[in-house]
Symmetry: C2
Subunit: 708 residues, 2 copies
């Protein structure tokens, strides 16, 4: 554990600088919350104009307090913050939360003030939360810290929540209280002038109180660090994050195919997916899932049991199960027999098991126990549909008891009988997670299963191929000081060959005269292409002719191409002809590289031609990729079936696709000065030796090292 945050979450003494004696102000509320929640340390209000606040002696300055102070919480007006920081330094306080707003978020003046603030805390060695934040909570019994001004009392549980937005944080705290969802620790990080989301999740990694981490971030300061960290953490405990599409504005409006296929969501998607972070799109969804991780076991598999007293809600559960990746199998004969004995004659006992509205607490309890023992199911949803003949609370309690010792995943669906929830918490604190409607419970189980599969998935490794790094360096040296530049095709070919990627053999020809001289030596059929470093979508301007069988046709094709280029006003960009063997069979793919300013290089894979054009069926990952990631990339495109062979087609060499993705990944790791790569088309067949890159473009930015 990164101990530097201990003073934030476990302070033995707190100074509240700017505490107000005026009821209803935010700083009064904060002190009030600290006291009401039963903070187990010492509180020192600091306010030059008050003798005492909340019956506690108040100090004029922090430095006047005799005791040592672990944490200062600052709510003074903006212009007093720097002075107060100096005073904290005098008092040797090492951790400060600045709640005061009006810094970077409010414009130029505030930004200057924030810079000065950061300068001072760095000088003093103070760790800072905020500014412009809304505080910290730790519900652990040994500390009972509620340093926020949000009304209501946090409920204790296993969720850690870090929020970049204060308003959203406050709203979430209210929602958690209203829905009986238990929090372990909460921190609002505001402007992240010092302590970032990454620092917090790293701190939570080893804290056994935190069973699940929830994250609301609007921006990633260091996306690479986030990925690295969360990759480690998600193997131990889940991270759930709300989507924020704001991170990918950095992908340059690229002229490359690959760049054009990246969307504003590409980076966040890749980041979360590669690090096993569970992405949600709403706050409600985030905590529906978080409470499941907090209170339920992970399912061993996808088989769902449903116990109910009414048909309708069970149907909703079944309907949702497919989308959630779950199945609703028949129960074993033995289970059915046992249920048959326990339940009324007309009760269906296959799955869903419907105990009918007359079901008693005893019947619910024994049916729960019987179903949980059935090896045909991995998880169980118990639905308590109104009206119940007995009190819903009694039934909920007896079901909770019946679930208590099972290692399977259990969920309780109370069908909007919300009045039961808070009493259930007090009378059966070990109860399964509670949902209003069955759909939400089913979705949550689906997410638990996804996470369990992620935890058990192969981590994989970065593969290192033997490559000829030196040749590439030599080629790139030729372009030194050219800034941003497309490489010549012959250099592209050499580079790809140096890293073991199979570019098709080809012959250059400057003009038609030269072409006539080489035409008779060619092995037909061939393709002829107009080449030029700035000639990008050459097939769009009639710059490519394929399936040429004779010398006469070749010359005619070359003439056509020049005419086409002329008509499209692209003749200036033409440099030479390229002649290559014409390949008929195989599947066209596209493999490429693009770069996000913030998150770095991404690699892309997809099927070429109409699949890319029409369906945008591509997959991106952040570099470098591991062998397991290359594997999942290829398998995750929608048209994957085309690679495995359908009807009469043979499967292509999928291992070899993966190998090429890994080789390209290695090239970019070795030479991050590449900003765009398009291997398009890259043809794959079932025979490795037939697989060829037919065309390729590469762009480098030289003298501009890769920034993490």
């Amino acid at each position: 554990m990164n101990d530097s945050l201990n003073n934030l979450f476990y302070p033995k003494s707190i100074a509240v600088i700017g505490a107000s004696a005026k009821e209803g102000t935010l700083s009064w509320e904060l002190l009030n919350n600290l006291i009401k929640f039963g903070y187990k340390g010492k509180l020192f209000p600091v306010n030059p104009n008050a003798e005492s606040i909340h019956s506690i002696k108040s100090y004029r300055r922090v430095s006047e307090i005799e005791d040592s102070i672990d944490l200062a919480i600052m709510m003074v007006s903006r212009k007093l913050v720097l002075d107060a920081i100096d005073d904290c330094h005098r008092k040797k306080i090492s951790s400060v939360v600045v709640i005061t707003a009006g810094f970077k978020e409010s414009g130029a003046e505030g930004a200057i003030l924030e810079e000065e603030l950061v300068k001072r805390i760095k000088k003093y060695g103070i760790r800072l939360v905020g500014p412009n934040c809304m505080g910290i909570i730790n519900t652990h019994n040994k500390i009972r810290l509620n340093a926020t001004f949000v009304q209501g009392e946090p409920i204790s549980g296993g969720i850690g929540f870090v929020s970049q937005s204060g308003a959203l944080g406050a709203a979430v705290l209210k929602t958690l209280q209203q829905n009986d969802i238990g929090l372990s620790q909460f921190i609002s990080i505001g402007n992240k002038a010092d302590i970032s989301g990454n620092a917090v999740i790293e701190y939570w990694k080893d804290d056994p109180d935190i069973k699940v981490i929830t994250v609301y971030l609007e921006s990633f300061g260091k996306p690479r660090r986030f990925m690295e960290l969360s990759r480690e953490i998600t193997k131990i405990k889940p991270i759930i994050a709300i989507k924020s599409a704001r991170t990918a504005q950095g992908i340059r409006a690229a002229s490359s195919h690959t760049g054009a296929l990246a969307s504003s969501d590409t980076v966040t998607n890749a980041l979360f997916e590669q690090s096993g972070v569970i992405r949600v799109s709403t706050i409600d969804e985030m905590f529906d899932i978080a409470k499941a991780f907090d209170k339920a076991n992970l399912p061993k598999g996808s088989r769902l049991g449903i116990l109910t007293n009414a048909g309708g809600p069970a149907i909703l559960a079944i309907d949702e199960s497919t989308a959630a990746g779950l199945t609703v199998p028949q129960l074993s004969k033995a289970t059915q027999k046992k249920l048959r004995v326990a339940a009324p004659l007309e009760a269906p006992v296959f799955n869903p098991v419907d105990l009918l509205p007359s079901a008693s607490a005893e019947l619910y309890s024994s049916a729960t126990r019987i179903m949980l023992k059935d090896s045909n199911i991995d998880s169980l949803i118990v639905i308590l549909g109104p009206p119940l003949s007995l009190s819903t609370l009694e039934i909920a309690k007896s079901v909770s008891n019946a679930c208590k010792d099972s290692r399977k995943t259990c969920m309780l669906v109370l069908m909007s009988q919300d009045e039961v929830i808070s009493r259930l918490r007090n009378e059966a604190p070990f109860h399964p997670p509670v949902y209003r409607f069955p759909e939400n419970a089913v979705r949550a189980i689906g997410k638990l299963l996804e996470y369990k599969n992620w935890q058990e998935s192969e981590t994989g490794e970065i593969i290192h191929f033997n490559t000829d790094k030196n040749s590439v360096r030599k080629i790139l040296n030729k372009y030194k000081r050219s800034g941003e530049v497309y490489l010549k095709f012959e250099d592209v070919s050499k580079i790809l060959n140096a890293y073991g990627m199979p570019v098709i053999e080809s012959i250059n020809s400057k003009n038609i005269n030269e072409l006539s001289r080489i035409a008779e030596k060619l092995k037909y059929p061939v393709v002829i292409k107009a080449m030029g470093r700035n000639l990008i979508h050459k097939s769009d301007v009639g710059g490519v002719e394929t399936d040429i069988h004779t010398e006469a046709d070749l010359i005619k094709a070359a003439r056509n191409i020049l005419e086409n280029l002329g008509r499209h006003k692209k003749l200036k960009q033409f440099e030479y002809f390229l002649i290559q063997p014409y390949i008929r069979c195989g599947v066209e793919t596209i493999i490429g590289i693009t770069k996000d300013e913030n998150a770095g290089h991404l690699i892309m894979f997809g099927l070429g031609g109409i699949f890319v054009e029409v369906l945008n069926d591509v997959k991106f990952k952040l570099l470098p990729i591991r062998n397991s990631e290359a594997k999942s990339m290829v398998r995750s495109i929608k048209s994957y079936k085309l690679l495995t062979g359908i009807r009469a087609r043979k499967a292509v060499d999928i291992n070899y696709i993966e190998e090429n993705l890994l080789r390209l990944s290695q090239l970019i790791e070795d030479f991050p000065e590449f900003t765009e790569v398009d291997l398009n088309p890259f043809i794959f067949t079932d025979k490795k030796e037939e697989c060829k890159i037919l065309d390729a473009r590469m762009k480098v930015v030289l003298n501009n090292r890769y920034a993490d």
Copy 2:
């Protein structure tokens, strides 16, 4: 309006048969709810063992009541129901709600009882709700009817809700109360022995109190009637329905391509889409949208304005807007100027407009008014993020006032400050719909917009082509009494030609000897296919050879085919060879018909070959289709771009695709005995005369008329 349900929703007098004097029983709760909610008519408890119940004189039998009775609500035990019905008849009661369970839903014995019940009410001319239901609500001030046993008081509003499931209905009523969502009328229809969901929505069609209809149905008794009705209704008011995938189990496990591509969701999807029903997947979503329809205006367009006092929630709103089909444009210069004057210096005023946490009620109110006047936006979300310097209630009230007279769509997001909701209802009953989080508000606006587009969309019409109906009848007569049968290809060709669909010209040949005789007359290149009524996926067993240029190659191809069929043990199914011109260009499509036992015929369109095989990219609609539906069908497949021409390809004749869909629709309407049709492949190019059906299969079931 269908007046036959008036006695249910507007009864002047009610007999509660089986009312109990024992507090806590369901029948006691029901009578209690009727009284507490302030029912404006006369109540008559019926119970042989009580003198009075709830201080109201009780009767031993219905027939002993002196006054006339509009509605009887029955909660007697199952074995007394028939007697009580007889007594209702004696009393000339024309409407009865049977809440009692234990009928069809409980097994064979109950089913027999239900049959008897239905027989009697039909004889007596009684309209029946239930059995096995949970009652009726009408919140209208002139009636104040709460004939359910669900605790809590319904809130008055514009939503009609019909539920097939009682338990779900009860849960929804609780949710509506908890979330301040206003109900107009509610009915639980239980086993639908008489009154169906269709009857209820038809009744609500013309009721001005009902602004939006919400529906939970597990099964469609008459899907065609539902479609017809809801098509009419949704042009007047919205219908929101929860998905229920249970309706499509009727699609027979077909050997046809088209049948195999239909999923369990195909029928419901087509049904809802063609009738403009808004489909949701959760109860929460249903009422998030319903309350928007109840309380907000429809947006004129997709442009969303966001007013907030905190950045985080505004970002969530923006993130969600794309998925909801909305845009967040800049405000006009004039608006920005006005906001600049009203708002603090650091407040961003472009859109989102962020008033900062210090915002007052006056500032919120004037910013709301200014933004609503901007012609750059069609809808406005006002977010009140905690903490607010003033009371949230005051701000919510002044925003509500500012929205009151605008014709634009307004939404209020209270960021989980739920305590405000009930007070806002009392103090500003005209307030905009209230949401906990901005994502939900944005989604709801998206749905309002979708609905508005549906309302304004062309209805279109069924097109009648001149066809040769008689020839088809003659052909089908040949197959009479064959039961279920595949037609011969030559008959298929004739039928398609009779309805103006272009089958490719082709020549038959019984064997290779015959082939040699006709080979020299052919115009090459040609295709040769093995034919046979039971030879279905012929290309999978090597039964097709294409692009044949010479007589010798043709003979060789025929030999190959026979050899292939032999190897696949399909020689027995071979009947003859078919020779057709080989067509190289154009786009392969597949057009087909399948039949759902419950909902009838469906027509399918998709791109053929790998698009169908790999991506399942097809669209189904229920027959008959209108020209507008043919149009939207073609446009709704994911690979539509391929038809409009990409890169060097020309667009195909899309009008002609639509025409063929409509012609096929007409054929099936005229001859519903077709159960399967596959036109596959059906090639389209840019020239109508080149478009050809290359292969076709048709199955009929004769002597089995189409059932609605």
